[in-house]
Symmetry: C2
Subunit: 340 residues, 2 copies
DNA sequence: TCAATTTATGAAAACGTTTGCATTACTATT
DNA sequence: AATAGTAATGCAAACGTTTTCATAAATTGA
C-alpha cells in the first residue's frame, strides 16, 4: 500500500480510485455519518493505497480554519521561554492546532513583521509575550480580528487579554523576603528593560518595596546585565570587589542569580554566609543547584498551558470576551539567602 | 489608513479600490516590473488603505510553495534543542520561510502523527532530530517527496541527508580524555537510549573506547538517568555513597554532568580533587559553572544554522542530491577533571 | 402498489490566488 | 504614414477543497 507515485494525489485521484465523486470523498472525511459504510470503506482503502493527505491550504481558502496558531517570543533559547513554548504547544496541539513559532530578539519592529507574516498564513490565533508591542502590531491584530493573547505578564489593564503572572509583584516579593531577613544593603541585578516589560516590572516592584522600607539603592549597586551567566558573573565580580559590599543581591531572573552565585564562589565568598542571593523565575534546575536557589516561582508551564487553552477556546467557541487570567506566584525560600 | 473594515479584504477589494483588474494587483506583488509605476503606486495606496494581507493558502493551492518549514523535536525545553531551534529558525526565516514546530516526547509514533499533520499543511520541507524514526515516517516523507533532513547526529550512512556531529565520536573523545588523565575507574551516566540515538551513540562510543583500553565498567557504575538535574543528582549520590567509588564520571550530557557535580558537592566531595566529571554538549553556561565543566563541544547553533541553510537550499534550488554535513566537535578541557 | 420519506450520491459553485493568452495602446523604424 | 514591436492590462482557467442543491435509489406506511 501507499506506493511511491510520481504524480500528486489529490481528492480527484482518490475519488477515481474509489469510483465515487469528489463530494463523497470529502464527505467521508468531514461528515462520515453521511456516507454509507460500504462506500466509506472503499474510500479508506483508496486513501491508504494512494497515500492521500488532505490539503489544508485548500480547506483554508474555503473559509475553514487554517489549524495553525502562532507563538511569537523574544527568543527561544531562554529556559523560561522554552518551557513556556513546550507547554503552549502541547495544549494547542491537543485541540488540533499546529504551532508556528518565531522569535524577534526583543525588536518590536521585527515582531510586527513576523506577526504580519503569520497573518499571511492565516493563523487562527496568535500569542505574544508581554504587553510591550508596537502600536502597529496592536492595530494589525485588531484590524484583522485575529484572536490574540498576551502571555507571561498579568496586568488588569492589558490591551489584549492576558494569561500570566504579576511581575511587579514578583519584584516586590523578592525585596520583601530580603527585608524580612534583615537585609538593608541590597544590590540589584536586572536585565535591560527596553522591549522587555517583564524585567522592567520586576525592577520597578523591587525598587518600590525597597523605597517603602526607606531604602534607596545606590547607583553603583544597580547592575544591568544581559541575560547570560557569563555577563552576570563578570558584572557581579566587579560589584563584589568593592570594599563596601551589599549583604544581598536581588536578581531579575534565575540565570542572573546563578551568575551572581558563581561570581561569589569564584571569589571565595560563601553563599549565603557572605552574601545572600535571590532570583526570580524558579527555572528548571534552580531547586537542584548548590546552594539551592531562593527565588520567586513564576509558573511557566502553567502559564503556557492555560494560554494555549484560552486561545484555542477563543478560536473554537468565539466568546465575545476573553478573561484575563492571573497565575499565582510564590516565594521558594531555599538555601541561597540567610537572615542577618 | 488601514481602517477597521467589517468585511474581509481580498485581492478583489483591492483591485476595485485601485480601479484595475485582479491580475494587475497580483502582478504588482509578484512581478512589479510588469506593472507601470503609476498603477503600482495606486495599488500600493489601496493596499495600505485597506490593510490587505496576501493569502498564502490561496497561493499554496496554486502550486506555489507554502513558505513553511517544519521542525520536529523530541522536546523544546532542553537547552540544547532550544538553542538549535533558535538558530534553525533564524536561518530559515532569512530565506522567507515560517517555522512550524512540534515536539513528540521521544515517542516515534507521535513523531509520525506530527509529520503527517505538517504534511497536511503542505510544508515545503521538514527537519527531524536524529536518525531513529519509524519506518512509516521515512516512507511518508519519501512518498511525498518532501525535502527532509535529519539534524543533530552525523552518520555517513544516514537514510536522510543529515547535518550534525558524530555522537559516537563524542563519547569516545570524552572517554579518551579521562584515560589520558590516568583514570581507569570510570562511572558512566547516560540518558535512556530508546528513541534517542544520540544518547545511545555517545554511550556506545564511550564504552568502545574504554574497552579498547581494557576497561570494563561494572554494572553498578553504569547509571541511566532521565534528563534532569534532580534525577542525575539523586542517582549519582547513590553511586557515590558506595565505598568503592570511581575516580571519574563520564556523563552523556552537560545537564547530567552538572547534576553529578551537585551530587558530589552535596556530599562534600570536591570536583575535581575527589572526583572528576566530564560532560558532552557544552551547553550555554557550562563554561561559567563552578567548577567550569570539562566537556565535548557539540556546536548546536552551527548545526541549527547549517541545517536551515541546507533545507532552504534543497527547497529553493532542488538539487538532486543533498550532501551530508559533519560539524566538528572538540574537547573543552576546563576545571572539572584532573589528572591522577 | 403507490405515494411519501429518507438515505446516498453527484454536479456545480465558491473560496483567493497566479498566470498564459489575448487585446489594446503606445513607440520606434522604415 | 504604415508596420512591426513592445508595454500594460484584462479575461478566464486552474489550483484542491467544501457545501448547497438536485436527483436517484431505497425504505416506509397505508
Amino acid at each position: 500500500m501507499a506506493k511511491l507515485n510520481r504524480e500528486k494525489v489529490d481528492i480527484v485521484t482518490v475519488s477515481n480510485a474509489a469510483n465515487v465523486s469528489i463530494s463523497t470523498v470529502s464527505r467521508s472525511f468531514n461528515h462520515p455519518e453521511k456516507v454509507s459504510a460500504d462506500t466509506r470503506k472503499r474510500i479508506d482503502r483508496a486513501v491508504r493505497k494512494l497515500g492521500y493527505i488532505r490539503n489544508r491550504a485548500a480547506q483554508t481558502i474555503h473559509g475553514i480554519r487554517s489549524g495553525t496558531i502562532g507563538l511569537i517570543v523574544p527568543t527561544m533559547d531562554h529556559a523560561i521561554f522554552s518551557e513556556l513554548m513546550e507547554a503552549f504547544s502541547r495544549s494547542v496541539e491537543a485541540h488540533g492546532f499546529s504551532m508556528l513559532v518565531a522569535s524577534h530578539g526583543y525588536d518590536l519592529e521585527k515582531e510586527y513583521a513576523v506577526t504580519r507574516k503569520f497573518l499571511e498564513h492565516r493563523i487562527d490565533g496568535v500569542a505574544l509575550i508581554g504587553q510591550e508591542h508596537s502600536e502597529e502590531t496592536y492595530q494589525l491584530l485588531e484590524q484583522n480580528r485575529t484572536p490574540a493573547i498576551s502571555i507571561w505578564n498579568y496586568s488588569a489593564k492589558s490591551r489584549l487579554p492576558c494569561v500570566g503572572a504579576d511581575n511587579t509583584r514578583a519584584g516586590e516579593m523578592a525585596a520583601e523576603h530580603l527585608l524580612e531577613n534583615g537585609h538593608r544593603r541590597i544590590g540589584l541585578l536586572f536585565a535591560p528593560g527596553n522591549g522587555n516589560d517583564r524585567a522592567q516590572g520586576r525592577m520597578d516592584g523591587a525598587r518600590a518595596a525597597l523605597k517603602a522600607a526607606g531604602i534607596d539603592t545606590p547607583a553603583e549597586w544597580t547592575l544591568q546585565s544581559p541575560y547570560s551567566l557569563s555577563a552576570a558573573k563578570r558584572d557581579v565580580r566587579i560589584l563584589l570587589e568593592q570594599t563596601h559590599r551589599p549583604t544581598a543581591l536581588l536578581c531579575g531572573n534565575d540565570v542572573l542569580a546563578l551568575g551572581a552565585i558563581y561570581a561569589a564562589q569564584s571569589m571565595n565568598l560563601h553563599v549565603p554566609d557572605d552574601i545572600s542571593v535571590i532570583g526570580i523565575g524558579d527555572f528548571k534546575g534552580s531547586e537542584d543547584m548548590h546552594p539551592a536557589l531562593t527565588t520567586i516561582r513564576l509558573p511557566a508551564q502553567r502559564i503556557g498551558f492555560l494560554a494555549g487553552e484560552q486561545l484555542a477556546d477563543a478560536i473554537i467557541n468565539k466568546p465575545d470576551h476573553l478573561p484575563r487570567v492571573e497565575c499565582a506566584i510564590a516565594l521558594r525560600a531555599r538555601q541561597s539567602c540567610r537572615a542577618i
